[in-house]
Symmetry: C2
Subunit: 203 residues, 2 copies
DNA sequence: GTCTATATGCGGATAGAC
DNA sequence: GTCTATCCGCATATAGAC
């Protein structure tokens, strides 16, 4: 009986492997923040070895930069998809597109996290650029007024907060999630709740 | 000539020293996030040794928890201070109270950072509790309607984002800070800009 | 294309002196 | 009340085999 070789990742084109790792990285970075994430966790989530992650992306920072860049792109892609239709209703459709992205693990949290990292030279640059793209899209393509744009983005940031705080249940004397969510997004309560992990749970 | 003793922190009552360290910690945590901050940086910012910080607060996590708890308290204190006066104008006064807190280094960023850490068992608990206090204050003491409350908090989160992104200048092809700030808070532009560090600058 | 082994540096925390 | 010395664990990154 020969010694079985340790299960190793199946060979695959580097481009596909990159894609796979980027998805895993989005989920992990989203759950644990940029600094809180180790390249090893990303590697395990993607089913490859830690050095290979570094090998493919150079550094953890470069990996994160690709992740947030992709996330901002994805966001715009989803917004653009709901452009056709009644302009009166566009804000609502875009809001739905935003919360729908909760199913793509890490996508929203990663964007949220990036907005806290403006102080990092490289990451900050990319984060500001991503935010700019969103802003321009909303103004130019969606045709929002400054006031509408401000309102829309502010609401998105509030959703990020609810997600980040894991405001999904009732925590004793703390404010009830239902109360905040009800006040904020009466029609999205169930969706948001069902897509959030419980507090303390991994995502 | 006797050998000079290494400059050492002057003796001081532990309570005062705690306070001093908490202020330094707020600034550092605010600038570099919870995970990104080392207890050594906090110590140096406070002018004491690293082990002493740990000695006084037990762990880095406990220190951070005290920091955000204090920050949420401070926030409410400032809001409460502007309660008296024309109710029509209360929202604006509270908004001003919020942005005025930018002068207290780290205060706002630390609160923002805490909202991303709901996944951490201990920190998440405290962060949700802090957010709850704010929410209840706005509803019960300030008497905001659910819609007003939602609007007010969402705007606060947007301000946090602008601060976190360091959206303070013109970055080439990126969106101009003036454009976003103008659209968001026409009357606070100068204050916010003047209180933010430039991108890449320490805070 | 992917792994194992490993160097290296850093951060949190402890022990104990003054 | 505060410091110095230091241990230990962990995370990133490199070298090099298969």
């Amino acid at each position: 009986m020969t010694v079985e070789s340790v299960p190793t990742a199946p060979r695959m084109k580097a481009a596909d492997r990159r894609e796979l790792i980027l998805e895993a990285a989005t989920a992990v970075f989203g759950a644990k923040t940029y600094v809180g994430t180790t390249t090893d966790e990303v590697a395990r989530a993607a089913g490859v070895s830690q050095p290979y992650v570094v090998r493919l992306f150079g550094t953890k920072e470069k990996l994160f930069i690709e992740v947030i860049d992709r996330a901002y792109d994805r966001l715009i892609e989803e917004f653009r998809a709901v452009l056709p239709g009644d302009p009166e209703d566009l804000g609502r459709r875009m809001g739905t597109a935003y919360t729908d992205l909760l199913v793509e693990r890490g996508m929203l949290p990663v964007v949220a996290n990036s907005t806290a990292l403006g102080g990092e030279p490289e990451i900050g640059r990319v984060a500001r650029a991503g935010f700019s793209r969103i802003w321009r899209f909303i103004r130019d393509e969606a045709g929002f007024s400054p006031e509408q744009a401000r309102e829309f983005i502010a609401t998105g940031m509030l959703i990020n907060t609810i997600v980040g705080l894991r405001l999904t249940g009732d925590y004793g004397d703390e404010v009830s999630a239902t109360e905040v969510l009800d006040a904020c997004f009466p029609d999205a309560v169930e969706k948001v709740r069902s897509l959030l992990p419980a507090a303390g749970e991994p995502w």
